[in-house]
């Protein structure tokens, strides 16, 4: 593409002296929340370290993970994969009608030979495309004597995100007899009586969708990878794994849209001043290239679209929240709608109290807000003034 080099250069100018931050499945998954935020799109495309940026401008986000959760997660994955995935094979046999032989297990993980990510990816690519579902292995799926299925552990996939190659390592990929590849995701949150924490399942679904997409790109065919991923979790309160299918079609659509948007970042960049930079690096003497004020000012030049949901997904959320204070959207989309969709709290109250004149579009909202204010005051008049409210006037 003609613009590609130019865009690259532009993004690298924004990032400055720092190396681009590498994406992983989690950060790619996070791209799907709040897709309308230009600030986030630009920062992600440029590979700026948002966590450090938030810290520098004085709004650190606490996105830590408890050591207990990490330990448990690793232990569960190890257990499920023990003895060449013996336990997992049993589960997949039932769930996918996968007729796996012990020999079908292939570990594509790092073997300690110190080979780079590239080499591992090439090896994984070779191995996966040679499997019957891959582009080179047409075979005859129903025939006798074909490899019926296979498990690939630690395959290293690659996905282009905003012009950068991102390496991804799904927990496991399974090939189903006569069918397609299935991404297998091992998570340590429990499925109790067939139900799991909805938020965690949603997160796992998006993350798995990232792997599905990467695998599809690797194999070059969409139908080679099923949109149904397999989620393996502990059952009830035990360590016994249970496998369920998870449809990630919706997540795939959002993800593809969002990735495509990142590559079309030019439109967003064109609207930004040419000298925009968010350099978190230091010069030779160890002093930061950009002072806090400069960073804050630069951030302010890229429009954000803050919503309360950002607090649980984006490292910069506290900064944006502060910036958005006084805006109706900061109170939640529902509140904004109820307030007639007006931009700021001051404006909404102005219309409600008749101190601001509505324009034509606002006439209806304004009438509703005036009624609300009148009715609220009337209803409140029936009760004693609260101390806090009184103090504030």
């Amino acid at each position: 593409m003609r613009h590609e080099g130019k865009t690259e250069a532009r993004l690298s100018r924004i990032r400055g002296s720092e190396p681009p931050r590498r994406h992983n499945a989690r950060t790619i998954a996070a791209l799907t929340s709040n897709p309308g935020c230009a600030r986030r799109a630009v920062l992600d495309a440029a590979g700026v370290d948002k966590e450090r940026l938030a810290e520098r401008v004085g709004f650190p986000a606490a996105f830590g993970q408890s050591r207990f959760a990490i330990v448990r997660g690793n232990a569960f994955e190890r257990q499920v994969k023990a003895d060449g995935c013996a336990e997992l094979l049993r589960l997949l046999r039932d769930l996918l009608a996968l007729d796996l032989r012990d020999a079908a297990y292939t570990d594509l993980g790092a073997d300690g030979s110190g080979e780079g990510l590239d080499a591992r990816h090439v090896a994984a690519r070779e191995r996966l495309t040679r499997a019957p579902g891959g582009e080179d292995g047409e075979g005859n799926p129903g025939g006798e004597g074909n490899p019926d299925g296979a498990l690939f552990d630690h395959p290293l996939l690659r996905l282009e995100v905003a012009g950068q190659a991102v390496y991804l390592e799904p927990d496991l990929v399974a090939f189903q007899h006569g069918g397609a590849f299935h991404v297998v995701e091992i998570k340590s949150f429990p499925v109790i009586d067939g139900q799991a924490d909805a938020e965690k399942v949603a997160a796992a679904a998006v993350q798995s969708a990232v792997y599905v997409l990467a695998l599809r790109r690797l194999l070059g065919r969409d139908d080679a990878v099923s949109h149904e991923v397999v989620l393996v979790c502990p059952k009830d309160f035990s360590n016994v794994p249970v496998a369920v299918r998870l449809d990630v079609r919706r997540q795939l659509i959002v993800l593809e849209h969002q990735l495509a948007r990142l590559t079309r970042i030019d439109t967003l960049l064109d609207a930004l001043p040419d000298d925009l930079a968010l350099d978190l690096g230091q010069d030779g003497a160890g002093t930061p290239v950009m002072a806090v004020d400069a960073l804050t000012a630069a951030l302010g030049r890229v429009t954000a679209r803050y919503a309360p949901g950002c607090l649980s997904t984006c490292e910069l959320a506290f900064f944006c929240r502060r910036e958005a204070s006084g805006r109706t959207a900061a109170l939640g989309i529902g509140v904004r709608e109820e307030l007639g969709g007006v931009e700021t709290v001051a404006e909404a109250l102005g219309l409600a109290h008749g101190t601001a004149t509505p324009d034509d579009d606002q006439a209806e909202s304004a009438a509703m807000l005036r009624t609300t204010a009148r009715v609220y005051a009337e209803a409140l008049g029936a009760m004693p003034e609260t101390p806090a409210g009184g103090a504030a006037g």
Binding site: S66, P308, G332, V335, T371, V375, E378, A388
Partner: protein
């Protein structure tokens, strides 16, 4: 988000303080509720780390599991928490009982009577299956119970029937910090109610009972209007709107910061401080990851080491394992001399015992620092809520909680009863449960608007209700009904400036005159608003000319709403035994299996 709620949030942003969205308290608040602050270990399936519980701020009991991955310690914890909760349940049951009037008798609870329509429309007149009619319940209680959510509840009804028509005067009320706390109770109930006190995996006696009661409470918590198990954040946001989002309101400390900020601070300032986990530890059940990594993990590791050392020494000395499921270790009130280890192994060398106790105390100290701020916050919130007067319909809804408590209490004591609640609802039970929840929600919302002008305000904005002044009243109007008999149907005209959006013929009711319904006859623009004329019926006695005061008078300010408690009436479901084959036929009763009791809890 209601429009009044949104406007109140906007006002809160401007003033810097939470704004009221209710003028009365819509939930019941016991004189001494059981406050429960649970903590669990991150990553594990609802493994308890600690709980602080009690009915008095100054005498809360702290239970800390020094190694939450240890199965025996978990059940020891469940046993102690069980003792605590069961003690509370027994105190509620011992507070006395009252005779229950037979169903179909309209009651006149404090505040206002039920509209006739609710009584006749409610399934209490035809309780499905389970023979619920004779159960210890007023019409409301029967309605809820007859459509029981789980098999065990239907059994509970049968059991209650046998115990006689009595209802406890008190019922347990458990307050937890947030929605996740309710979920903790549900899951902890689920993980303990099937356990057996006999056999290979025997647990302390209180454990399965704790499970049943926690499950009972968690199920009640799903019922709109129930105050049996309440998430404090939800109780507070029902009454106040803050200048932050609903998502941020889920943080109890930040929410209270807006409602009751410390002196000299505004809501937003206090809320920002409250969001810092170092100043205000999260209200749980999940702990702050930084606390986990920096404080808790090292403390638990030290405990593990001390235990290993103690066991090694005991092994060398030929003594039995000094830690065989000793529950005392997790009760912070017990000191060294009380502990079982000292009993099991009297001659234990001092050094390893002391280092083990120090390690235990260290975990406890760390956890106490995380749980106590929330404990105090809970009681502050209780006091703040108590400042609001009870809404008129609170006693009636609490009566329903008491009814369910009474029947479940009886069921657990019944010879044939006491089975744990099933893991999942069957299709029939689920359908019934859903129907009940929908009806209760509609009734609860209507009740709130009836009880509280601030809630009614929402309906006024949306045009479903209006407040106006009576400008004309024809008290002695008599018309012929469809049978040709003359009936008294007074006509009143109300002028309102509210944006009424009700079609002619709509049935409305006034909170000031429950039992009297009006039908909108006409709506005409008037000089200063809208002129609504209403034809009234009911609530005015049998005299040809209604006595003065029974019908709105000239110049009276009156409110009318079209949202009535019986609005969500739906067709009755068939009795369980009449379930058609299309829906799987009559459900088979739930029987717990031995497998349930042996379920591993890793």
């Amino acid at each position: 988000m209601s429009v009044i709620g949104a406007y109140a949030r906007a006002l809160a942003v401007r003033t810097g303080f939470a704004q009221p969205v209710a003028s009365v308290r819509h939930i019941h608040l016991a004189e001494a509720p059981l406050v429960l602050v649970p903590l669990r270990m991150a990553g594990e399936a609802n493994a308890p780390l600690a709980a602080m519980a009690g009915t008095d701020e100054l005498s809360g009991t702290l239970l800390v599991v020094p190694q939450p991955r240890d199965r025996d310690l978990r059940f020891a914890f469940a046993g102690l928490l069980g003792d605590l909760l069961l003690g509370y349940v027994e105190r509620c049951a011992a507070a006395g009982s009252e005779p229950v009037k037979p169903p179909r008798t309209p009651r006149q609870p404090a505040g206002r009577p039920l509209p006739d329509s609710l009584l006749s429309g409610s399934p209490s007149s035809s309780p499905g299956g389970a023979g619920g009619a004779a159960v210890a319940a007023g019409p409301e209680g029967t309605a809820g119970a007859a459509d029981g959510d789980l098999r065990a509840d239907e059994d509970a009804l049968a059991a209650a029937e046998a115990t006689g028509p009595e209802r406890f005067l008190d019922a347990p009320q458990v307050l937890v910090p947030n929605r996740a706390g309710v979920e903790f109770a549900r899951l902890f109930g689920r993980s303990t109610r099937f356990r057996s006190t006999l056999g290979e995996y025997a647990v302390p006696a209180g454990v399965p009972l704790l499970g049943r009661w926690l499950t009972f409470l968690a199920q009640r918590a799903e019922h709109p209007g129930s105050s049996a198990l309440v998430a404090m954040t939800e109780a507070l946001t029902l009454h106040w709107a803050t200048g932050q989002s609903a998502l941020e309101d889920a943080n109890l400390a930040a929410l209270m910061a807006w409602i009751d900020p410390p002196d000299g601070l505004s809501g937003p300032e206090a809320a920002r401080l409250a969001e810092d986990p170092r100043t205000w530890p999260p209200a749980g059940p999940t702990t702050d990851p930084q606390f986990d990594n920096r404080v808790l993990a090292p403390a638990i590791a030290a405990y593990d080491e001390a235990i290993a050392l103690l066991r090694e020494q005991a092994g060398l000395a030929g003594a039995p394992d000094p830690l065989l499921a000793d529950p005392d270790v997790i009760d912070s009130r017990f000191r060294a001399a009380d502990l079982g280890a000292a009993r099991v192994w009297p001659g234990a060398p001092d050094a390893p015992v002391q280092s083990w106790l120090r390690a235990r105390d260290e975990v406890e100290r760390a956890v106490r620092g995380q749980i106590e701020p929330t404990w105090r916050l809970m009681w502050r919130a209780v006091r703040r809520l108590r400042e609001l007067p009870d809404a008129a319909s609170v006693p009636r809804r609490w009566e329903q909680d008491r009814t369910r408590f009474t029947s479940y209490y009886a069921y657990l004591r019944d010879e044939d009863g006491g089975l744990p609640q099933a893991r999942r609802d069957g299709a029939v039970a689920a359908a019934r449960r859903l129907a009940v929840l929908e009806r209760e929600l509609a009734a609860y919302e209507a009740d709130q608007a009836f009880d509280d002008p601030l809630v009614l305000a929402n309906q006024r904005v949306t045009g479903d209700a209006f407040v106006g002044t009576v400008v004309a009243a024809e008290r002695d109007r008599r018309i012929a009904n469809e049978r040709g008999t003359l009936v008294t149907r007074p006509l009143v005209e109300v002028v309102t400036v509210d944006p009424v959006r009700l079609p002619i013929g709509t049935k409305v009711c006034s909170p000031a005159r429950v039992g009297q319904t009006g039908v909108i006859m006409s709506l005409e623009p008037a000089a200063d608003g809208l002129l609504v004329s209403l034809e009234l019926s009911g609530g005015m006695g049998r005299a040809k000319v209604p006595p003065p005061g029974s019908v709105p008078d000239m110049d009276e300010v009156i409110s009318y709403t079209s949202v009535l408690p019986d609005g969500a009436f739906s067709a009755a479901l068939p009795a369980p035994e009449d379930t058609p084959w299309t829906h799987g036929g009559p459900p088979t009763p739930y029987e717990p299996t031995d497998g349930d009791a042996e379920e591993t809890w890793a």
